[in-house]
Symmetry: C2
Subunit: 110 residues, 2 copies
DNA sequence: TTTTATGTTCGCAAAATTACGAATGATATT
DNA sequence: AATATCATTCGTAATTTTGCGAACATAAAA
């Protein structure tokens, strides 16, 4: 009984990708990447969704390790998790760089 | 009534990320990236899931534009969509590169 | 101690995802 | 024309995701 049928790298990359698989979460990361830190309230104002939903998306990104938060009562401060962000950049770079696209056209061309 | 509250880039990046948000689909791309083309049967053998499910994952990747397929009766040949693959590489590179991680630690440190 | 401000969690509903076997379709081959 | 091969689609079920408002929790401020 294997832990998984896929490699650790594949699992990890899929986890990062899944966390980024929603425009709201991309927007959150875009926003956070522009500053050192920011408060929940600012993120919430930036997005067209209810605060409960924003909180959910933040939790998803946090569980994937892409961001982190800390309480600064009564506010909550969020930011990019640099360590894992770098890891994600490496994994995506490796993954997306492995296709040998020498010719301009598609692989399936006759 | 806007088409979307997010930018085109954010939507597109999220679409690519969502398509890559499952280890089976990462594995499929890893496999396809290693060769010019390959048949459904080969992909199917590589994965620990039923062929109906493999077909679903292939459809998901195809709809996101990351791969493409063509019939070579009675088989079906799949491959990376190089054009969009390059686009994905650019978008992810830009996105993941935008965090200014000058210091080693986390953004949230005091 | 009682407000007030700020986010999270709860409870719920709708929709999407994941997975499978069975049925179907499409096309070579016999 | 009948058969065999290969992959998709159908039908179904279980789970997860997304979204919201209301209720709750926490800690600062009055």
């Amino acid at each position: 009984m294997a832990t998984s049928d896929y490699t650790i790298k594949q699992e990890l990359l899929a986890k990062f990708a899944k966390a980024l698989g929603h425009p709201a979460r991309i927007a959150i990361c875009d926003f956070l990447a522009k500053q050192e830190t920011c408060y929940f309230g600012e993120i919430n104002e930036e997005l067209p969704i209810a605060k409960a939903t924003v909180s959910q998306h933040l939790t998803a990104l946090k569980e994937a390790g892409l961001i982190q938060g800390e309480i600064e009562a009564p506010k909550v401060k969020y930011c990019i998790n640099k360590e894992n962000w770098r890891l994600a950049r490496e994994l995506f770079g490796e993954f997306l760089g492995q296709c040998v696209c020498k010719t301009g056209g598609s692989c399936c061309e006759k």
